[in-house]
């Protein structure tokens, strides 16, 4: 690889270019293989998986594993399929993403355009919260959720995700607003516009890219979270990731691999979809903040 990387576009020879493409294609295979094979095998009958070759295309095409995973697979004690857990996840994700993004936007606005003594220290305190290992808050969190009477419930999980996502959204908006021309804010101020009016009329209309970043980040993280779901949810609020893990690691009966795969893809679909629709903006927006910062 080091051979290929020494070359620059302007002067790469034909052989080097062929080599570059070869390496890139190898990596395409590496990234596509595990997930791609899972997709192929999710539409095979079980006998073709246990008795056959995982790379082979299905001889009999069937969507039964998908219906099974969605509607009727045994998860924990009930044969409910993943459907109820999918809704649990949605009910948790939407409020959590919305609240943490709004709070993050307001925080970023205050921290860049209404600075006060000690604001950098406060921001530092918030920023460090992005990086704490969540293990350190598990025990007290379980106690506090119980104390508030929302343990094992969707509102409880929303609270947890808002709190631990807040630091990220604040970071994104703060970095974004930092390069937003402050003279516009000052001019509006002199014209008599207040705090919220400036936010609403001046900041928000140009916050599109960073809202996309914040929403995608929060959506992916919260949808994909396992630790909090496994620790703080009960039957009625368990998110998709926890249910999937229960499905895949259940040790009773025959391992229905095709159902597991269909379930795993179902669990991955929302984030993949978000990523396919808006991933480009995500990377661009994220990099605009982090590389500059």
């Amino acid at each position: 690889m080091s051979v290929a990387s020494t070359e620059n576009a302007i002067s790469t020879g034909r052989i080097t270019r062929a080599f570059i493409y070869l390496v890139l294609i190898l990596f395409v295979t590496f990234y596509l293989l595990p997930f791609g094979i899972m997709v192929i095998n999710s539409v095979k009958p079980l006998s073709e998986i246990t008795g056959g070759n995982m790379m082979a295309l299905p001889q009999v095409f069937t969507l039964d594993p998908w219906f099974n995973a969605w509607n009727s697979a045994q998860i924990g004690v009930d044969p409910t399929g993943l459907k109820p857990y999918f809704w649990n996840s949605l009910k948790m994700v939407f409020p959590a993403v919305a609240i943490s993004t709004v709070l993050g936007a307001l925080n970023g606005y205050v921290l860049t355009k209404w600075r006060f003594r000690g604001d950098t220290l406060l921001f530092g305190l918030m920023l460090f919260a992005c990086f704490i290992p969540f293990q350190i808050v598990l025990i007290p969190m379980a106690r506090v959720l119980g104390f508030l009477g929302i343990s094992g419930s969707t509102p409880g999980l929303v609270l947890v995700h808002v709190v631990y996502g807040l630091s990220f959204t604040t970071l994104y908006f703060r970095n974004y607003y930092q390069v937003f021309p402050t003279e516009l804010v000052r001019a509006a101020q002199i014209d008599g516009a207040g705090f919220f009016r400036i936010f609403w009329r001046i900041m928000l209309p140009s916050s599109g890219p960073i809202i996309v970043v914040s929403v995608i980040w929060q959506f992916t993280n919260i949808w994909n979270d396992f630790l909090f779901g496994a620790s703080f949810a009960d039957q009625d609020s368990q998110p998709m990731t926890v249910a999937l893990n229960n499905l895949v690691s259940s040790s009773t009966g025959v391992k229905e691999y095709n159902v597991h795969f269909a379930g795993a893809i179902l669990a991955a679909l929302p984030t993949l979809l978000v990523y396919i629709v808006a991933g480009r903006y995500f990377v661009r927006g994220l990099m605009a903040g982090s590389v500059k910062g």
Binding site: S5, T6, I20, Y21, V23, L24, F27, V28, Y31, P34, F35, M38, N53, M54, L106, V110, R115, T120, L127, F131, I132, P133, Q135, I136, V137, I139, V144, V162, V163, Q178, T182, E183, A187, I190, G194, F195, F196, T220, N224, F226, S231, T241, L244, N245, V248, Y257, H260, F261, A264, I265, A267, A268, Y275, I276, V283, L286, S290, V291, K292, G293
Partner: protein, 330 residues
């Protein structure tokens, strides 16, 4: 008279980070000057208070749910708590027990192997792919999302996919046998000595594309004029990368290191889904150790002390980094 004065200051503020950094004290003074310069009636005083009011709920949440909880966990780690928190002070007993536990030393050793390899390999692949993609590759727009999509998946999904793909009885090894290479062996996931490397493989698969995106953004941000000048001076491509381009990627290296190292220490779900900590305890990590000691073995005091060690490890990396970042920017 007021307006030119303000706009002059504000140009400094708005002219970009560089100016913002060097003139921060001036800029901040200007910020303070704004509300007081205008006639301080009730409304302006209220306006002055609003920003802090808006910030305070978030701040309260963070103070209680992050720092308050950290203090609580630290305190618990000095108590004899088992299934429920109790508040008897036992000093360093939990830490002494913790470091005598074989499970913990296995977890630490595994984290060393995992984090070291994960960070190095992700950075190498990320940088390599970014450089290759930066060679005016046809189909870059098609390749990038393929390298990146694993990042959108949950570690549980990644673990499920790889667990099966690496399973010798049904996955890769079985397939290669069917293709006629009967002696092919790849049973790492079932092998105590190698299972931890399968965690590395799956984790690298998930994150390396993201690291690539970071480096690619860094590469795209490099001033072309410098490169052209270097080329005119006869610099070889190798030297351009070694002397000019890669040194300029320092911020990207730093961000990658920080993100990867904290992801490594927090790794929990991937191990749960891929190996369940096994075979035996071969892929136990501090995060899985903490969970099982606290919630299934009812040794809350020891669980809390292991969480404190994890936090201190992350803090040792993060605090200097954040301090440097924020001081620079201010």
């Amino acid at each position: 008279m007021m307006r030119p004065h303000f706009s002059q200051n504000n140009e400094n503020l708005g002219a970009g980070i560089m100016v913002d950094q060097t003139n921060s004290s001036v800029a901040m003074a200007a910020d303070y000057a704004v509300p007081t310069a205008v006639k301080p009636d009730l409304r302006t005083r209220l306006q002055k208070l609003i920003p802090k009011l808006v910030l305070s709920p978030s701040l309260a949440l963070i103070l209680v749910f992050v720092y308050g909880f950290v203090i609580f966990s630290v305190y618990l780690s000095f108590t004899g708590s088992r299934i429920l928190p109790v508040y008897d002070w036992v000093g360093l007993e939990n830490y002494e027990k913790l470091f005598r536990l074989r499970n913990w030393s296995i977890a630490i050793k595994n984290l060393g192997i995992f984090a070291g390899l994960y960070i190095t390999v992700c950075t190498a692949i990320g940088l390599g792919l970014a450089i290759l993609l930066d060679q005016k590759i046809r189909g870059e727009g098609f390749l990038r999302p393929i390298f990146l999509y694993p990042m959108a998946l949950s570690f549980i999904v990644t673990g499920t996919a790889w667990k099966w793909f690496l399973d010798p009885g049904i996955g890769l090894e079985h397939t290669i046998h069917l293709w006629g290479w009967e002696s092919f062996e790849f049973d790492w996931i079932k092998n105590r000595d190698f299972a931890i490397y399968t965690v590395v493989i799956a984790a690298v698969w998930q994150t390396s594309g993201f690291v690539m995106a970071m480096f690619l953004a860094g590469l795209r941000g490099i001033d072309n004029e410098i490169l052209k000048a270097a080329q005119i001076d006869g610099a070889s491509n190798w030297n351009m990368y070694r002397r000019i381009i890669i040194p300029q990627l320092r911020p990207a290296f730093l961000s990658a290191f920080v993100i990867l190292s904290h992801l490594a220490i927090k790794s929990y779900d991937l191990v749960v889904a891929l190996t369940g900590g096994g075979p035996g305890r071969a892929t136990e990590l501090p995060a899985t150790f903490m969970y099982s000691y606290t919630f299934t073995r009812n040794q809350m005091g020891i669980g809390a002390s292991s969480a404190v060690i994890m936090l201190m490890t992350i803090a040792a990396i993060m605090v200097p980094y954040l301090y440097a970042e924020l001081r620079e920017k201010k």
